[in-house]
Symmetry: C2
Subunit: 444 residues, 2 copies
C-alpha cells in the first residue's frame, strides 16, 4: 500500500478569498469574468500537482455590487473551457439540487466528464436563501429539511440517469447496421415526490461513470447526506479539535451508512497568508484587513445572522440573544461557526469582520511556508483531514506563493506527489474506485 498522501483542492474565487483583495494594486477587478485569469490559476494548480480545482456558486446576484467583484461565469461553462486548457487537474463545479432539473444537470456533468477525459466533479449544494428562491418562481426559500429531502431524491434520479447506459451499450456494428444495444439502455422511469423522470439520459456513460460527488454542508442534514453520497467533503473548521471531531464523526456516519469510510475524503478549508517571516505574513494580512469597507462587512454579517439591517454596532460584541442554529433555515453550520468564533475569542463586530474577511469562516493562517506546511502536516497526521481546500486570500499571487513555497516543503516531507502519474480520472486522483453501474453490479 502506497503511503497516504495529501489531497489538495484549489478553491478559485475572483481576485481571492479575502473580500478586499480586489482593491490591492496587483489585482484585476475584472478578473472574475476573464477566462485568461482562470486558465492561469488552473495551470498554477497543475504546477503544484493539486488533485482538483473548485468553483463555488449560487444562482443569484449576491448583495450590493458596490462591495466587490460581483457575478461570475457559470461554473460548468467555465470548467469546460478550463478542461481544454489543462491536462490533469480535476474540475469541480458547484450546482444546486434546488434550482436545476436532474435530466439537464446529469447531462451537463456527463458531457463535461467526457470532454475532460474523466475529470468532472460535482459540489452538491441545496442553496440557502430567499434571493435564489425568488429567481426560480418561489416566494421564499424552501425549509432546510425540505431542501435536503429534494437533494436526496435528486441524487437518486441523477444516479439512475448516469447508469441508464451500461458501459458496453454501444455495439457499433457497421456491417449489420446495429449501433447500440437497446437491452443495455435502462430508462429510470422515476416517479417520486419531487421528480418524475421517464427516459434514459441522451449521452452514453462517461469515463468516470459519473462525476466525483462532493459536498460541503456541515449541519446534521448535511453530514447525513454526505455520509450517504459524498466522496469528498469541503468543510470550515477553526481549530484542530473541532476538525478532529468533525472528521471522526463523518467517517463514523459513513461507515454506519454502509460505506467504506476511506471512500470519503475530508478537506478543511485553509486561507494561507504567506510571508518570508511570521511578521511579514501578519503585515500582509493587515494590509488586506485595512482595505475592508466596514459598512459592507456589517451588512454581510447581518445577512448571515438573519438580523435586520442596523442591528450590529461595529465596536460592540454580537448581541447576546441570537437564535440557535435550529431556528435558522439558511446555512446552519456556518451560522454556528461564526457565532462561536465571536464568543470564543470575545470579538467585536469589527474584529469579527476582519477575521471573516479572509475565509468567511474558514481558517486563516498567516505564517511562513514552513509554518503553513507544519499546520497542514499536523492536521493531516492527527486525524483532522485527508487533504485541504486551499483558499488563497489573493489570486493569482497567493496560489503562486503556495505552489512555489509550500508545495516543495510538502513534497520534501513525502506528503504530496512530486508529479502526476500520467493520465488519471479525478476519482483515481483521489484514490477512489470507479462506480459500478447499478444494472451490472449483480454480475460483478
Amino acid at each position: 500500500m502506497p503511503p497516504r498522501t495529501l489531497h489538495l483542492n484549489a478553491f478559485l474565487m475572483n481576485t481571492g478569498h479575502h473580500e478586499a483583495s480586489w482593491r490591492l494594486p496587483e489585482s484585476d477587478p475584472y478578473a472574475h469574468v476573464e477566462l485568461d485569469h482562470y486558465v492561469r490559476l488552473a495551470r498554477a494548480a497543475e504546477r503544484g500537482t493539486f488533485d482538483s480545482l473548485f468553483l463555488a456558486d449560487g444562482p443569484h446576484l449576491w448583495g450590493s455590487v458596490a462591495q466587490r467583484p460581483s457575478g461570475a461565469l457559470e461554473p460548468l461553462t467555465l470548467l469546460t473551457a478550463l478542461a481544454t486548457a489543462t491536462e490533469h487537474i480535476g474540475l469541480i463545479a458547484t450546482a444546486s439540487t434546488s434550482y436545476n432539473s436532474p435530466y439537464n444537470l446529469a447531462r451537463k456533468f456527463a458531457s463535461l466528464d467526457i470532454i475532460s477525459g474523466g475529470r468532472a466533479g460535482w459540489n452538491i449544494v441545496t442553496t440557502a436563501g430567499a434571493d435564489a428562491a425568488r429567481n426560480f418562481g418561489l416566494d421564499a426559500e424552501p425549509a432546510h429539511a425540505e431542501r435536503y429531502a429534494r437533494a436526496a431524491e435528486f441524487l437518486d434520479v441523477a444516479l439512475k440517469l448516469w447508469d441508464s447506459w451500461e458501459d458496453d451499450a454501444i455495439v457499433a456494428d457497421k456491417a449489420s447496421g446495429v449501433w447500440g444495444d437497446d437491452a443495455k439502455i435502462h430508462p429510470p422511469r422515476h416517479r417520486g415526490t419531487y421528480f418524475q423522470v421517464e427516459g434514459a439520459l441522451n449521452v452514453p456513460r462517461s469515463p468516470q461513470g459519473y462525476p466525483l460527488l462532493v459536498q460541503a454542508g456541515s449541519s446534521a442534514d448535511g453530514k447525513a447526506f454526505a455520509a450517504r453520497y459524498a466522496e469528498a467533503v469541503f468543510t470550515a473548521q477553526q481549530t484542530l479539535a473541532d476538525a478532529q471531531a468533525f472528521y471522526a464523526d463523518l467517517k463514523a456516519l459513513t461507515a454506519a451508512a454502509g460505506r467504506d469510510p476511506g471512500h470519503i475524503k475530508v478537506l478543511p478549508g485553509i486561507v494561507p497568508v504567506l510571508g518570508s517571516t511570521e511578521a511579514e505574513a501578519r503585515a500582509n494580512e493587515q494590509v488586506l484587513e485595512d482595505h475592508i469597507v466596514h459598512v459592507h462587512g456589517v451588512a454581510n454579517l447581518e445577512r448571515l445572522l438573519n438580523l435586520p439591517a442596523g442591528s450590529l454596532e461595529l465596536d460592540a460584541p454580537l448581541p447576546a440573544d441570537l437564535p440557535s442554529e435550529d431556528a435558522v433555515e439558511g446555512a446552519k453550520s456556518r451560522y454556528t461557526l461564526v457565532v462561536e468564533l465571536a464568543r470564543r475569542d470575545r470579538l467585536t463586530v469589527r474584529q469579527l469582520i476582519g477575521r471573516l474577511g479572509g475565509g468567511r469562516g474558514h481558517l486563516t493562517f498567516a505564517g511562513t511556508p514552513e509554518q503553513v506546511a507544519d499546520a497542514i502536516e499536523t492536521w493531516f497526521t492527527q486525524g483532522a483531514a485527508d487533504g485541504f481546500n486551499i483558499m488563497p486570500a489573493v489570486l493569482p499571487s497567493g496560489l503562486d506563493a503556495f505552489v512555489d513555497h509550500v508545495v516543495p516543503i510538502l513534497r520534501a516531507r513525502g506528503l504530496l506527489r512530486t508529479e502526476y502519474p500520467g493520465r488519471q480520472t479525478l476519482r483515481e486522483r483521489y484514490g477512489l474506485p470507479r462506480p459500478v453501474n447499478q444494472h451490472t453490479a449483480a454480475l460483478v
Copy 2:
C-alpha cells in the same frame, strides 16, 4: 454599402446528416461523443470563413439506439470547448424554452458569450414530443400554442436578465472601494404566467449584450415568434418557389412586427452531396441510400406522422387519410413538408425514406461543386435566402469537400468573404447591430 454576401452556417451532427453515414468505412461511430471530431469540424468551417456553426438538440434519447449514433454532448458544453479551439466562428447552441429555467439559461449563454469573445448564439426551440416532456415531470407534451406562449414569456424574461446590468455598471474604483454602481443594476421583478424571476443576473452584460437569437420553427406560431424575436432563421424548403414564398412572408411579418426586415436573416438548409461529375454525385448519394436500414426508417416516419407502429407499408404510398397540420401538436411545419413531398413526387414509403435520409426534410442536392454553387447563387439572388445552413451528409468529409470545392467558387463569384475581417462578434458577422440595453435605450 458593401455588396450583399452569403451567410453560411455549418450544421454539425454526428457523422453527418444522412442517417446511414455512420456505416460508411470512413466514419467513426463514436465521433458524436469525441471532442476532437468537433474541433476538426469547427476548424474546417473556419477555413471556409463560415459565419457560424450550430448544434441541434432535444432533452431526451431519440428512439432506438440500435439505429444510429445516439445521445450527444450537451450543446452549450460542447460549444464552450469549441470556443477555446477556434477564433472567429459563431457558436449557436439549441436550448429549449419548455425545459429550462430562464435564470439558468440566460446565465449560461452570457457566460459562453463572455468566454468566446461575443460569439454565442441561441437556437430557440420549444421542443416537440412527449419523450422530452416525460423527462421533466409532465405526462404529455404541452400543446403547440402553449409552448409558444411560454417561449415568448421566456424570451421577455431572458432579455430582462441580459439587460439587468447596464454596460457601464462596473466602476472598479479601488481607491474608494466601490466596485459596481447599484443604480445600474435592474432586477427584472418579473411576475408572469409561466415565470417569476425577481433578481438581476449574476453575470455582467456580455460582449454582444445577449446571444444572437436564432429560430427554426416554420409553423404559423413559429413564424410569428421569429418575426418578433429572431435575428436568423433556419428553415427546410424543398423548392425555390416555396423558399421564396417563405422568405417574403417572414420579411413581411418582421416588418409588420415593427422590426427592420434586414435584421432577420433567412437560411434554408441544404444537404450537398458532391461529386466531380453529376453521375459521381448521384452514385455517392446512392451509396448512402443503400446503407439505410428500412425498419428504422419506417418507425421514424410513423413517429413523425403520429401513426401507430405498423401503419406504413414499405412499397406503398402514404395513407390517403392523414390528419391535417392543425391536428398535430408536434413539429407542425415539418409534418406538412414531408406529407407534401411524398404526394407531390408520388413517392412510396421506401422512396420517401430515401429522400429523407439525407436531410430529414431539408433539400438534398447531389451535384458537382459548380452545380451546388449555382443552386446557392440562384436562391441567394432570387429572393429565397440570405445564406444557407450547410448540412453535409457525411462528416467530416462532406464539410471538407464543401470548403475545398464549393467555397472557392462562391468566393470567385464575390458571394462569400475570402477571409475574416479580424475579430468580430457573431452579430457583427451577420451584419446586425448590437442590442441597446432596454434601460439605456431612452438615452441614446
